[in-house]
Symmetry: C2
């Protein structure tokens, strides 16, 4: 007697003998139904529900009554009402089987913490429980050979390659597990881990290696759940605040690359320890890692000398995604753990940009997206599903607070928000690590240490809106006699704070003008190459992108014209990209494919870049006002400022 079985949502269907288990039917039809224990009623991954369609209503007796396997399972773990174990439930009548997302190997996981709606989860490392034949004096075979035979027979995994250091735990695992083990297999090709008996834990870590901070996310490779997130300062800061000073260090010191590699690897290894401790798991539970970073961080973490990235033509060692053993990078995780580093595009558009692309997905839609990731260089990607362009703009470190008279990194004590009274020109500001504004009662001026990138941008934009800075970037005292505008060298400085002294100097304004003009010109150049005058959406990635207020970016003319509501922070997009690559083989294929298709536009050799750059030096970059800006920033509208500038110029 055969029965008709239809699986949902796949729609796959077939006829099976009465008594066939749902899991066997699913496997025969190639339906995506998960299992770690191989149908032994242990793992509970193959849970299904009885569904319905016209002519086949949902009735419990379409499957066999729950038997001892399911009863035993329920004694150990709850089984939701209506849920059945696919490996135990047998087909009795024609039936529709609903496979819920959590029972699929390839699933979409809805996330909240990571700032994206859904991540595909189909990890490259999967666990497989097997019974292994015992050794036999009469016909000797190695324990490995019997394990491989079991993996082939039970899971169809043929010709697996074995990483020799993984073998050291094989014999004890087989004996401790009484000839059952769980094997971790990577890409259905490499045997990378072995544990006694049944095991259901496979963890991974996604690293985002920034010049300033390093972040790590510990994830469950199966569920996609983030178990812990931790960050730390990049200890390379001791060798140079910004990227270029670290490359200089390498150039000046024979062992420079080695030392920088050593400290960043130490940090990554330390972060693994912190993440494991925070989540209450062992380092050895971590089977897979992923890594993004700008080209210099990427190279140093992988032990590659970044020297060539310091001078034209900025040749990368490789643009390819790499699989490197964690142990070869000095990271203590499972002995068979692999670090997947995302591909890069060019000398200044690295794995971090690929992480942003993977996370933001301009290639997945029709809208023309501009992705901006600001660091020492701004990495820019423009495009949609038709075409993708990338460029790097030499913004210099001004946006990171470097080369600014009172500048500093975005850290506690740094001024990050600035307002200037349009009439009195009096400033107020807020600092990182302290609630409220500087004109609030009890504000602790003693904690102020300097001004960070977002503070500088707000200060200059506000001063421009207040008429203290004109369109050419010259600081003036518009009404005369303002206590906050003080003579300094040939022009003026603006005093944000008296004690401690924090000023905006003419040089500071120049540095920001240069930086924002470079950023704007890079974006314009990409638009020229794409042949558009307008982009549909601008996403500001990274810490800087999260801190700056898009309105002030608009006032300064940092970014091209775009409806303000379509300008937004993308959060830690590079890190999210690393996480996506960690959790999904498909995501890796996707970014490797996309990275190969991104056209790099080189700002250094494009005459138009220079033209755009010069045009973008003024504040803002063009004379027409942004009507929408007058709505969102306090006042006065910049048309007035423009008039004043013209009056005075």
């Amino acid at each position: 007697m055969t029965r008709q079985v239809v699986f949902s949502p796949s729609g796959r269907r077939g006829s099976f003998a009465q008594g066939t288990t749902v899991l066997d039917a699913a496997r025969a039809l190639g339906v995506d139904l998960d299992s770690v224990c191989g149908g032994r009623g242990i793992c509970g991954r193959c849970q299904v529900m009885i569904g319905s369609r016209p002519g086949i209503e949902a009735r419990p007796d379409r499957l066999s009554e729950p038997g001892p396997t399911e009863t035993d399972y329920q004694a150990r773990r709850p089984l939701a009402p209506g849920h059945r174990l696919g490996c135990a439930a047998e087909i009795v009548e024609d039936v529709v089987i609903d496979v819920p997302p959590e029972s699929q190997v390839h699933r979409q996981v809805v996330r909240k913490r990571a700032g994206v709606s859904a991540l595909p989860v189909d990890p490259v490392v999967r666990l497989h429980y097997v019974d292994v034949a015992e050794p036999d004096l009469a016909s000797p075979t190695g324990d490995l050979e019997r394990l491989l035979a079991a993996l082939e027979k039970e899971w169809g995994l043929e010709g697996l390659l074995v990483d020799p250091p993984v073998l050291s735990g094989l014999q004890s695992a087989l004996r401790q597990g009484d000839w059952t083990v769980t094997a971790a297999v990577r890409h259905q090709r490499d045997l990378v881990g072995i544990w006694p008996g049944f095991r259901d834990v496979a963890l991974g870590v996604a690293f985002d290696v920034g010049s300033t901070t390093i972040a790590g996310h510990l994830c469950d490779l199966t569920s996609g759940e983030v178990l812990a997130t931790s960050g730390m300062m990049n200890p390379q800061i001791g060798f140079g605040e910004d990227l270029m000073s670290r490359v200089s260090y390498v150039m000046m010191n024979d062992d420079g690359a080695e030392r920088l590699t050593g400290v960043v690897r130490g940090a990554l290894d330390g972060l693994i320890g912190e993440l494991a401790a925070e989540a209450g798991v062992a380092r050895e539970d971590i089977l897979e890692l992923s890594l993004v970073g700008n080209p210099i961080m990427h190279h140093l973490a992988l032990g590659l000398d970044p020297r060539e990235l310091g001078t034209a033509p900025f040749a990368l060692v490789t643009t390819s995604a790499l699989d490197t053993r964690a142990r070869d990078l000095g990271m203590r995780a499972h002995p068979g753990a692999t670090v997947y580093s995302l591909p890069s595009i060019a000398g200044h558009v690295g794995a971090d940009a690929c992480g942003v692309v993977l996370s933001e997905g301009p290639h997945r839609g029709a809208a023309l997206q501009l992705l901006v990731d600001v660091g020492t260089n701004a990495e820019l990607v423009l495009g949609n599903r038709e075409r993708l362009l990338a460029a790097s703009s030499p913004t210099g470190p001004a946006f990171e607070g470097a080369q600014i008279s009172s500048g500093q990194r975005a850290a506690p004590g740094a001024i990050e928000r600035v307002r200037v009274d349009r009439s009195t020109l009096e400033p107020r500001f807020s600092v990182i690590g302290q609630e409220g504004w500087s004109n609030d009662v009890g504000f602790d001026f003693g904690a102020v240490t300097g001004i960070c990138g977002s503070g500088i941008i707000e200060a200059i934009a506000e001063l421009f809106l207040a008429g203290v800075i004109d369109g050419d970037g010259v600081i003036r005292d518009p009404a005369g006699g303002s206590p906050w505008v003080v003579p300094s060298e040939r022009t003026f400085s603006y005093v944000l704070s008296v004690e401690p002294r924090v000023e905006i100097t003419q040089n500071d304004v120049r540095a920001v003008q240069l930086a924002k003009a470079a950023l704007h010109a890079g974006a314009r150049l990409l638009m020229d190459h794409y042949g558009v005058e307008h982009v549909d959406e601008i996403r500001l990635a990274g810490a800087f992108g999260s801190h700056i207020d898009p309105r002030y970016a608009m006032v300064l003319g940092m970014i091209p014209d775009c409806d303000l509501e379509h300008v937004s922070a993308a959060g830690n997009a590079a890190g999210v990209g690393a996480m996506m690559a960690l959790l999904s083989a498909e995501a890796r294929n996707e970014i490797e494919d996309v990275a190969g298709r991104i056209e790099k536009v080189e700002t250094a050799i494009e005459p138009r870049f220079q033209e755009h750059f010069v045009a973008a030096l003024a504040i803002p970059h063009k004379t027409e006002p942004y009507p929408e800006l007058s709505k969102v920033v306090d006042m006065p509208a910049r048309v007035e400022t423009g008039q004043r500038r013209r009056r005075r110029g």
Copy 2:
């Protein structure tokens, strides 16, 4: 105008346009003609000569006149008369091209030092010289990607995999070599090394890891030449003289396996340093290594716990050949170097036995060979091209001098040769490290430290032939009153040396009887399984096999009947096997294939083994005399002894 070209010895032929180079013609026809530089006249590997055949006599003008490439080459290196560079010489007339063996990629190298006549040389690692495109700002690609493109274009190497740590030297190599590099490619699949410019050095080390000594051979991977050979004591001896005591150490100490692994790896790493120093090369020139050893040494060197090998069913972690990164084994060589460990057969028949099989090649001929490798266990292989059987016999450590009253390892001071005067029963002996015999004038008795395995065997055989030991192994004083036969416990001891005292006790005889009976019974069991009563050839492998005199082995009945002239020492056959595997991809395929076909016969579960064992305890194992033995050993012939025994019994 096309010309006919015939290559010799391959016989391949084809028509080519006049002006085609010999190398291009060879490549088009798939002729095995070597080249590292890719036809640039640098490496000199593609040398050919003009040959002849009926109708095409050898005339120099059948190829173009030597041009600047060959003149330049000759200015750097000699070119033998009649030799032409295949990459420069162009086809002018119909021509026969002789490819000498040294210009073939797959060659047979005739060896003297290693004790075999010819080794196939077709190394798994090959060098390829390429021109790499320079980076271009306008279309950025990684240096690696351009290198891979060059390797694909010039050498047809597609889809190479890259070991990430090898990348660290890529950029400097490309720039130092002015965009030419030599790449090492393993198995035409893995990029494992990169050097600036042209390079022609690729070295390898073959390791034979014995319980007592470790030997290493440094070879040129291209020519097969042995550049240096070095040996050392296995420092694991500090943890136990014989194998079983080291396994016990592992069982008794939690970190035992780790410590034993640490010391053997340290020794191997030290040996690499010694070999490199002796040959005047750098460790980093070593690209490939091979390793044989008994199962316990093999496991410990690879970091695998040998515990299971100490108890039935003696399960190996794996019987497969493994490729392990040298760096993962703590061996400092080239960062991309790999250690190839030969396959194993069973718990007591390991990679060393596979090395012996590869070297001796019973599977290549029709003659029925018995290979005997004596250690703590005797590894036995019997067979020919039809069928191969293997067994391990529990000889115990008596043959290694252990469990013998005055026993010791074969080391300076050990008695290794013994003669007993048939009338006076007076002994004479020679010791390792001293010339001459103990009855020579000036013999230094003070240097005598004990007796080693070969000494014990000769002593007992000589005493048997002298009538001091009877066929049951009982020590007697045949004539009475001999000063060398002294009462001891219930029987007698034979005094070999008075000061220092070295005796052969009744227990010593018993220990050797047990050992030789086990060895004989194992061989007999294999013969039963094969269904033969006689073997064509017996090869005694290893240090012990080289030291014992086959005649005495026959007197004692250690080995089955065989014409004495067909019993011989195989020398360091396991080490030669390791060297063959080091130098030849084909040899690896061969031994992996053969190892999978060898049938293991387990002595422990075969009742016939016990029967053979009991039957083999007597000296010699059967009552019929060996007529040929009476010719070669002094006298009296053993039939007399047999009569005496019967008389007295």
